[in-house]
């Protein structure tokens, strides 16, 4: 059946081929030629296999195996069977006419035997055959296949050159059977040979070596993945594991944070925040139902208490706190009630909540409780929600009033996730090192708090902060920049002011808190429900702008509008200081106990610049002089401990103002009341290493008796260790002494008769 069908098919194809040839012939002659028409109907399917036609008259009845000769005389440029390869001088398919058409080359000399190919460009034919020079005339045997094996190279016998030297070194007689190094045809390859060869090369292939399947353990081990348990009709996280959004190769969020048992996220205080970006373009509506949705991150999330498919689930996470973050300024407001799932409100830039993902989860901080022996007990989460608007919507907000020099509307929203682990009784408080600070970890700080006659430190979760920019580059009271140990920094942000605003501010007539000023400026025209600001209103200057943005932190004058003003600020000398033990945060002078180097009392903090440093307005140049544009924090650090493992600590902290002149570039076409320019606030932190004495040993080394020699005097023997110089000196003198005695004995010339 199969053969018959096959023959029929072939017969059919031949008929089609014949028909095709006929059609081609007709078209060629032009007789009744018609343009080709499109098939009546397109359809899916595979094309017919494309093979070379078999001429069955050439097919032998009993095929015999062709012996492949791998000799040096192969013609490597003969790559086409049945036709002449251009410029392949050794191609047997090329006749003399074709060879005559090969590319001319006056200087070319053909290596092979065919002298007619001299003067032609010939393609590489492979290495020339090995040859031996014999002292025989060419008329005798000129060519011999030394061995009978068909797979060996051929050695050509040729007459030696007639030069004197060649005649001396030609071969008179040869009885060597060696033909040099060659590969033999290995013959039949078994399946075992293939397997062993594959195994040997297994690591060098596109398919990686499969990892051994890990056994399921009854309890979690460190870094095991954590399962999520599916309830009926509830959706799952990717891979049925506890996975949180994380940055992909472009920084945009994907499900890439696979959480491991007892593995915090981020891995340490000094490592990068576990943040990623969610674009707020057309894809926001989808992100709103997935990445940003509390349904997947909180409501339906139940972790498997132990590994395995039949593990019991935890309850859905306890909500430790819920906050709503405002769209402008990022102010957090406490929320109560059940956790809302995010919903997307479509729209076209109108008022209200159009084009907005409502109640998107922009921060989720998980605290997972375990029993210490590999089981998860429960978990809790702190949530921050925000209404995330599309970029179209932001454009409407920023551009509606035209009051800003540069709208700077965002194109994505940054979301943040953390995971921490604890035993049931623990409170998780991250450290910045133990005991010394790790470079890059937040500088621990807080304010002194008193209750019932006892003192403690209200430790700031973000550590010490300085004013920074919000997502749009403008100053924001909630967009602070964390001071990180060992990293001197400069943080700036913009405040848009018109000429009138600047003058009013400079002359001290402004009466708006800077946060209110910025909020009103951006959220005008009712897009976000704000009111159009009075053009004459300007930021107040009774409290310098940096102090306003830092909620009074490091500002020594009490002001009821700023919670942290005039509060004693403590900076931890050691990175593992306990905030409930204020003594760990102080390092006071032994004689003057009021001078505690890392404690800044209100008197040691900043006050409004006055006198020569006071702010003043120059109408001629439109310049506001001596604006307190930021704080400068000098942090003195020192190293303590063994030279190879020194720990860093904070020795002293001092704050001062950064003052600058703000000049409004007054173009004639500017409207003094409406055209705003960006003025930069700039705060700085300077980490300075204390000038310390050289590292000391417990027992000082004794002074050298012999002259000190260079440390590398006997380098190959004494190349390591700090005491190399002194040891080398001692060794040098010892060697010299021994050598002297030895030489004395050797050089004494016997015969002590006299």
């Amino acid at each position: 059946m199969t053969n018959t069908a096959s023959l029929r098919t072939k017969a059919g194809r031949r008929a089609s081929l014949l028909a095709g040839v006929l059609v081609g012939a007709l078209l060629a002659t032009g007789a009744d030629a018609q343009a080709a028409t499109r098939p009546t109907a397109e359809s899916a399917g595979l094309n017919a296999p494309s093979t070379y036609g078999i001429d069955w008259t050439d097919v032998p009845t009993e095929p015999t195996k062709t012996v492949v000769k791998v000799t040096a005389e192969n013609c490597l440029c003969d790559l086409t069977e049945g036709t002449c390869d251009a410029n392949c001088c050794c191609d047997p398919d090329c006749d003399s006419n074709e060879k005559a058409q090969f590319t001319e080359c006056a200087t070319c000399v053909y290596d092979g035997a065919n002298a007619a190919m001299n003067g032609k460009v010939c393609l590489p034919e492979g290495r020339s055959p090995p040859s031996l020079e014999y002292c025989l005339p060419s008329s005798t045997v000129s060519r011999v296949n030394l061995l009978s094996s068909s797979s060996l190279g051929v050695v050509e016998q040729r007459k030696a050159d007639m030069s004197f030297l060649s005649q001396q070194l030609c071969i008179k007689d040869d009885n060597s059977a060696s033909l040099g190094k060659y590969f033999l045809d290995p013959g039949f390859a078994t399946d075992d040979i293939l397997k062993s060869s594959v195994t040997l090369q297994s690591e060098r292939f596109w398919n990686p070596v499969p990892a051994a399947a890990s056994e399921t353990q009854p309890k979690y081990r460190h870094n095991d993945t954590i399962g999520v348990v599916k309830a009926a009709s509830e959706p799952l996280l990717p891979g049925n594991k506890f996975v949180l959004p994380g940055a992909t190769f472009s920084g945009v969020c994907g499900w890439t944070n696979v959480i491991g048992y007892n593995m915090p996220l981020p891995a340490s205080a000094a490592s990068e925040d576990a943040t990623c970006l969610v674009p707020i373009d057309d894809t926001l509506s989808k992100s709103c139902t997935t990445l940003l949705n509390a349904k997947y991150l909180v409501n339906d999330l139940k972790l498997a208490k132990t590994p395995g498919s039949s593990a019991t689930p935890t309850e859905a996470p306890t909500i430790s706190s819920m906050k709503y973050r405002s769209r402008i300024g990022g102010k957090l407001t406490d929320l109560t009630g059940t956790v809302p799932a995010a919903t997307f409100t479509d729209g076209s830039g109108g008022s209200g909540a159009a084009d907005t993902c409502n109640f998107a989860v922009v921060e989720a901080h998980y605290v997972i409780t375990h029993d210490g022996s590999g089981s998860i007990s429960s978990f809790a989460v702190d949530l921050v929600f925000a209404d995330v608007m599309t970029s179209t919507r932001w454009s409407a907000v920023y551009n509606a009033n035209g009051a800003l020099a540069d709208p700077g509307n965002p194109s994505s929203v940054r979301v943040k996730y953390t995971v921490s682990w604890k035993l049931s009784a623990e409170t998780v408080v991250p450290r910045s090192g133990a005991p010394g600070y790790v470079v890059g970890a937040p500088l621990l700080a807080g304010t002194k708090d008193t209750s019932s006659g006892k003192n403690a430190v209200a430790r700031l979760k973000d550590g010490l902060t300085i004013p920074g920019a919000g997502p749009d580059g403008r100053c924001s009271g909630n967009g602070k920049s964390t001071v990180r140990f060992g990293m001197s920094q400069s943080s700036s942000c913009a405040i848009p002011l018109s000429q009138d605003n600047l003058k009013t501010f400079c002359q001290g007539s402004g009466d708006k808190a800077v946060a209110d000023y910025l909020y009103d400026l951006i959220s005008v025209n009712g897009v976000l429900g704000g009111t159009t600001p009075d053009k004459t209103k300007a930021p107040g200057s009774s409290v310098p702008l940096p102090a306003q943005l830092m909620d009074g932190l490091l500002y020594g004058t009490l002001d009821s509008n700023y919670d942290l003003s005039a509060k004693t600020v403590m900076v931890a000398a050691w990175a593992n200081a306990n905030y409930e033990n204020i003594a760990d945060w102080k390092s006071c002078d032994a004689t003057d106990t009021t001078d505690c180097a890392t404690e800044l009392t209100a008197a040691e903090q900043l006050t409004k610049p006055s006198g020569d440093s006071a702010m003043s307005w120059d109408e001629t140049t439109k310049t506001c002089k001596n604006v307190a544009v930021g704080v400068n924090i000098d942090v003195l650090t020192a190293k303590v401990g063994h030279l190879d493992h020194a720990q860093s600590k904070v020795q002293r902290v001092k704050v001062s103002w950064n003052l600058a002149d703000w000049t409004y570039t007054d173009f004639p076409w500017d409207n003094a009341a409406d055209d705003r320019q960006d003025f930069m606030l700039k705060s700085t932190v300077h980490f300075v290493e204390m000038a310390q004495d050289a590292p000391e040993g417990v027992k000082p080394a004794s002074p050298p008796i012999l002259p000190t020699l260079p440390a590398d005097v006997f380098y190959p023997f004494l190349s390591a260790g700090p005491a190399g110089g002194r040891a080398a000196a001692s060794a040098a003198w010892c060697v010299a002494l021994v050598a002297a005695i030895f030489v004395a004995w050797v050089t004494a010339r016997g015969d002590d008769s006299y």
């Binding site: 190769f249 981020p266 891995a267 674009p279 190959p716 002297a740």
Partner: protein, 315 residues
């Protein structure tokens, strides 16, 4: 009569052990040595602390690779191709269909790979504006140092013009922060250059997303004392709106790779000895000449016996 032979007659100086005269010659030898040593040391270069030699490294492609294609659709729409199950799993919705091939060629039949060609054609990802490629190799050095490590070649290019291909061609150069100690096998870095390939990480294993980021991967790699980089001075970006994009890398293995190494003690001594000896001979010659002055003019006490003087016999 003619003189046919000259036979020197000596005046022999004798002195007790540990006398000044006895110690004069050892003193000269020691002094010559110390002076020679001091001059050799203070003039610099006595102890050869680092040396270089030239070799061709043995390099094999590990078939570990990560490709990131950045498209015109903007951030977050990059497409990824990798040989790592763990990455492919996490990037499940960003994977690119790639037709990739690699070959290793030993051009001069010396048993060492000279060329590694890698060609990847990606289709269906839209206009490509940027490519980042990380390729891993098994790298070993022989000769004066014995080094076995995993190394990497990184190639990247981006263009405001959509591309149809990126072609990089360069040498895989060794980059050393410090000399490699000679005399023992060094395999400190014989582990994967990709943190997500360590310990045979399988798909779905735990993974902090930050360790996937290329700056983190490259930062960890660049901390190594020995690493490699692709010295491709002539990258070619073929611009064009094409339905496919070709990334082709030709990694050449330098036949003359300079390797900085710390010599063994014997080698250090060999170079030091010839310097000391050369200076010692000069001073020994000077002291020998001065010896004549010392003994001939009786600067030190010796008992002198001439060969002309009859030897007294003891009975």
């Amino acid at each position: 009569m003619v003189q046919v032979y000259v036979e020197p007659i000596s005046r022999r100086h004798y002195a007790p052990y540990f006398s000044v005269a006895f110690l004069y010659r050892p003193f000269c030898i020691i002094a010559s040595l110390i002076i020679a040593f001091s001059i050799a040391l203070t003039s610099g270069g006595l102890w050869v602390k680092t040396h270089t030699y030239v070799t061709q490294p043995s390099v094999r492609f590990k078939y570990d690779m990560l490709l990131v294609f950045e498209t015109s659709k903007g951030p977050g729409t990059e497409r990824v191709w990798s040989t790592f199950d763990s990455v492919n799993y996490l990037m499940g919705n960003k994977l690119a269909p790639v037709d990739i091939s690699a070959s290793e060629q030993d051009v001069n039949s010396d048993g060492k790979v000279d060329l590694i060609d890698i060609k990847a054609v990606v289709r269906g990802v839209g206009d490509v504006h940027g490519v980042k490629a990380l390729m891993a190799f098994d790298y070993s050095l022989g000769g004066r140092v014995d080094l076995v490590m995993n190394s990497m070649a990184y190639a990247s290019h981006s263009s405001p013009l959509a591309g149809s291909g990126l072609y990089v061609d360069g040498y895989l150069r060794l980059d050393q922060r410090d000399a490699i100690p000679a005399g023992f096998t060094r395999h400190d870095y014989n582990y994967s250059v990709f943190p997500f390939a360590e310990h045979g990480e399988a798909k779905g294993d735990t993974r902090d997303a930050s360790t996937l980021r290329l700056p983190v991967v490259l930062n960890q790699y660049n901390f190594r004392n020995e690493s490699t980089y692709l010295d491709a001075k002539t990258p070619v970006w073929e611009s064009g709106n094409s339905p496919d994009f070709t990334f082709q890398a030709r990694v050449r293995i330098p036949t003359s790779q300079q390797v900085l190494y710390r010599p063994t003690t014997l080698e250090i001594w060999k170079f030091a000895w010839v310097q000391i000896l050369a200076i010692y001979i000069i001073f020994w010659w000077i002291f020998t000449k001065f010896e004549y002055v010392v003994f001939h003019h009786r600067i030190v006490d010796t008992r002198v016996v001439s060969d002309l003087q009859a030897k007294s016999h003891r009975f």
